[in-house]
């Protein structure tokens, strides 16, 4: 039953995508393309853990706000004549499934001061613009938020 729900979610996603692309026309082509894309998607990325929409929506404003701060932070450092950057690396273990870890890495890369470079022996490699700031705490919070989206 869970599997059907996951498949239905993919189909709905690609239906919406086709609707936006074709501006609501060409239902016939869509009728062929949507099942094909859903099949491909399920084949490549089988739905093991469902994505919960509400926690995802709940974290969106915070994500947008923090990526705006990220842009401001980089801009400020770049335009400051003294260019205050103090780069370094941190590594920390992450308790998320594979997809979640990649999503966390992508999210961190858009947030102020952090940039992920994949994982190394189970630990996330994060480049920071200012190694004196406490990034680890912020990353833990984001990890918990993402953990509640899937699982």
């Amino acid at each position: 039953m869970k599997k059907h729900a996951a498949s239905a979610r993919r189909v709905i996603f690609f239906l919406v995508l086709w609707f936006v692309l074709s501006e609501g026309e060409a239902l016939l082509v869509g009728a062929a393309a949507v099942p094909a894309a859903s099949w491909l998607s399920l084949r490549l990325l089988p739905a093991t853990r469902p994505i919960h929409l509400l926690p995802l929506l709940a974290m969106t404003p915070n994500f947008l706000w923090r990526s705006l701060l990220g842009g401001l932070d980089v801009g400020r450092r770049a335009l400051d004549p003294r260019m205050p950057i103090n780069p370094g690396w941190i590594r920390l273990p992450v308790d998320l499934p594979d997809g979640g870890r990649v999503a966390l890495g992508g999210e961190l890369s858009l947030m102020p001061g952090t940039l992920a470079a994949g994982t190394d022996r189970g630990r996330l490699l994060v480049h920071v613009l200012d190694k004196d700031q406490d990034h680890a705490r912020m990353i833990r919070i984001e990890e918990r938020r993402l953990g509640s989206v899937s699982g």
Partner: protein
């Protein structure tokens, strides 16, 4: 409005000149790729400005550019791996 949008596109295009300098200068392959991706994102912005100023159907070009810029980044990572068909993340 049209002249405002196109003037912005001119400024954006000029700023891509700075990125072009970084592509030329490098020094690392990753530096050149970063600058190329910057030109890709800037290109998406310019296409959207032109679309708003002249013809909305240009958005399709922005869509394809955004998609294929991501594909190019994947190809870059593959080609820089140890045997050129691997993944830099492999240990």
């Amino acid at each position: 409005m049209t002249s405002w949008l196109i003037s912005l596109a001119v400024l954006l295009l000029l700023s891509l000149g700075g990125a072009l300098w970084r592509v030329w200068r490098g020094p690392e392959p990753a530096d050149r790729m970063i600058a190329a991706q910057l030109i890709g994102t800037g290109g998406v912005g310019i296409v959207l400005l032109l679309a708003a100023a002249t013809d909305w159907s240009m958005i399709d070009v922005a869509l394809v550019l955004a998609l294929l810029a991501a594909v190019a980044a994947v190809a870059f990572a593959k080609a820089q791996s140890a045997d050129s068909v691997g993944d830099p993340e492999e240990e």
